[in-house]
Symmetry: C2
Subunit: 443 residues, 2 copies
Amino acid sequence: MPQERKIKLGLILHGVGRTWDDWRHPDRDVRASTSLSFYRTQAQLAERGRFDFLFVADSLSINEKSSPHYLYRFEPLTILSALAAVTEHIGLVGTLSVSYTEPFNVARQFASLDHISGGRAGWNVVTSWLSDTAANFGKAAHPAHHERYRIAAEHLSVVQGLWDSWEDDALVGDKQGGVFVDAAKLHRLDHVGPYFQVRGPLNIGRSPQGQPVIFQAGASEDGKDFAARHAEVVFCGPQNLEEAQTYYRDLKARAERLGRPDGAPFILPGAAPIVGRTDEEAEAYYQELSELTSIDTGLGFLARAFNDHDFRQYDLDGPFPDVARIGQDSNQSASQRILERVRAGNLTVRQIARELSTPRGDFVGSPEKVADALQRWFENEGADGFVIFEALPGQLERFVDLVVPVLQQRGLLRVEYEHDTFRENLGLPFLSNRYVAENKHAG
Amino acid sequence: MPQERKIKLGLILHGVGRTWDDWRHPDRDVRASTSLSFYRTQAQLAERGRFDFLFVADSLSINEKSSPHYLYRFEPLTILSALAAVTEHIGLVGTLSVSYTEPFNVARQFASLDHISGGRAGWNVVTSWLSDTAANFGKAAHPAHHERYRIAAEHLSVVQGLWDSWEDDALVGDKQGGVFVDAAKLHRLDHVGPYFQVRGPLNIGRSPQGQPVIFQAGASEDGKDFAARHAEVVFCGPQNLEEAQTYYRDLKARAERLGRPDGAPFILPGAAPIVGRTDEEAEAYYQELSELTSIDTGLGFLARAFNDHDFRQYDLDGPFPDVARIGQDSNQSASQRILERVRAGNLTVRQIARELSTPRGDFVGSPEKVADALQRWFENEGADGFVIFEALPGQLERFVDLVVPVLQQRGLLRVEYEHDTFRENLGLPFLSNRYVAENKHAG
């Protein structure tokens, strides 16, 4: 009997907040983004709610205009390693850029996290979209968008190759015979490509998961192709079910054309539930949130997505300007999503600014209402699960205490963790070591 | 009244062992090098013994001839972050190479570790001495020894600059006024040097220690100059008190000539105590250890230090050959140390090989005898403290339970941690943020 399909759940750990202004909530610790105790509490809450994973986003460049949750925060691999020591079951997914890292260091840190956590590491592969990131890494210019994905594919293939450089049973540990390692099961990668040359082997053995889980968040054409080809889990940001379905069907079709196994990759939209005991209570929470924000914030958000373009020069209540020409070198996935949303809703500058600064989403209401909405997305080709943002302090706890039990009763969420590793809990296949597979093939 | 001078103590976390063969001890877990529970137990033992810090060594290249403790182990920053979550007082010092890392990433990971641990991070700055490391990082050749230290100095200055890029009170968090950060207290570094160009600011605020503690382990001339100029703590590997004194006096003199404050840097030789309740019991433990090793191991150790040179071609019981010409591009500090030891003891190939494979050291005996030896080094310009290696399973516990109380009774070791941060517990000065210092100077 095939296992029933369950909603996959992740939690974004975003410290001071998700939007530009929610750090201003009276209950928010303004130092949350570097507070181990805050992160630990959130992680343990998510584990109590039987979430599949924690997710730590990242970026590599700030300036005085950056959003509070970008400006000041933990580095992903370090905080995830700390959380590995104080959690038991939940996956630990970190964002790391391929544009400014060495594959050898990336492979090692994720393999090390996988060993520390007993098989719970995941890598969210990003190419870094902020054009001024190059200046922090001694580069004249950030690579162009298309090239970044070619770099990403090669970087990922090297990392995955290094993860296999020890066969699963290469560490022999024969004390009597004095054989620590079986040298025949230790493989050099000897990769030589246009962007990377890496010999190997990695100086840490194959990790409990065999291969940590690969996440991606492709929104552009290149990004979606990359995700369809390489990702096991995709994180996306649709504004409503219709957008989610369009993205979901598009990506699954791309993956199918590439011969990916049935249903791969899992697609998880972001969701920021606002849960009250009643719809009215939830509505009051949403008002509380929206009152924290100003129009400036929304305009700042627009500017950031369009290469610091100043939208005050337009009539805020007039039609959205034609800004295609200025979006060239900036965050293509964000700007594209905004333009699509503007077109779909025929929005003015003010309307899109407000939406951007206080996203409402589809998940505001009583526990049953929120569960209904999640189920609707899940059962109608909108989602295989969700990456949950805590919209307001206290909302994660409300979600875990009020919504999770409803979903569990409906048979849509696990009641207990079933397996030891993140990969197994997600229902993803174990990936055999490539050298073992080769030998089997030859033998 | 000035605080009495105390012995500083660190613990090397080396997983399966210190020598090539001690993983073969019956009580050693052959997977210790990737066992969180082993590392946690050792860390908590060291904290019970009021050690100043844990130390994680590193290297970036292996082959089938590498020593077991090099082959397969945790990456330093990840395991130290995990240990930060399960310890409270002890410093967390990680080795990271300047040759194959980006200063921005290094600054961030150590700042993040410092936040996670509440001010307990330290960076052991190394230049990577294995010449084949370059092949894992797409480089044609490893930089020459002298150039590596020029790179190191610039890399370190960039990292320390980034650590200051937020003034201590830059995070305002004024919820009413909507001011998250005081932009005037956020500084770009705008570093442009021969090896690195880094703009900044760092995307994490100044950490609890202000600046994580800088470790170094210089043995060559370049290395000692670097340590004298930049290190706050120096880790070294003398074979006996005389060698320790020579190194100690040399390095302190270099530092004094450079105008470093009185007594800087702290100098901590490695020590592998073998403690028994009696001298006889300790001697039996040493025999147990030496029986694990073979002459092959010692010859392998020699080969590794001298560019894979095969010493079997010589008469093992004859005088040590003239190998100065082959040590060019290999581990200069290790080979130099070996040559000095050979000259000092007029040793044969077999004798130095045996010493290398089963170092005996000065610290084998009853608790009082070991305490006497440590005190002798400490009070006679041999050491400001020690970095302890666990020679055999169980020895760390014996050291903590038997030797630490003796040293505490003699007033040579702390009884309780005095401060919150590693830097303060070491008695090192708080380093003011450079931008604040500048302003004060101008004002």
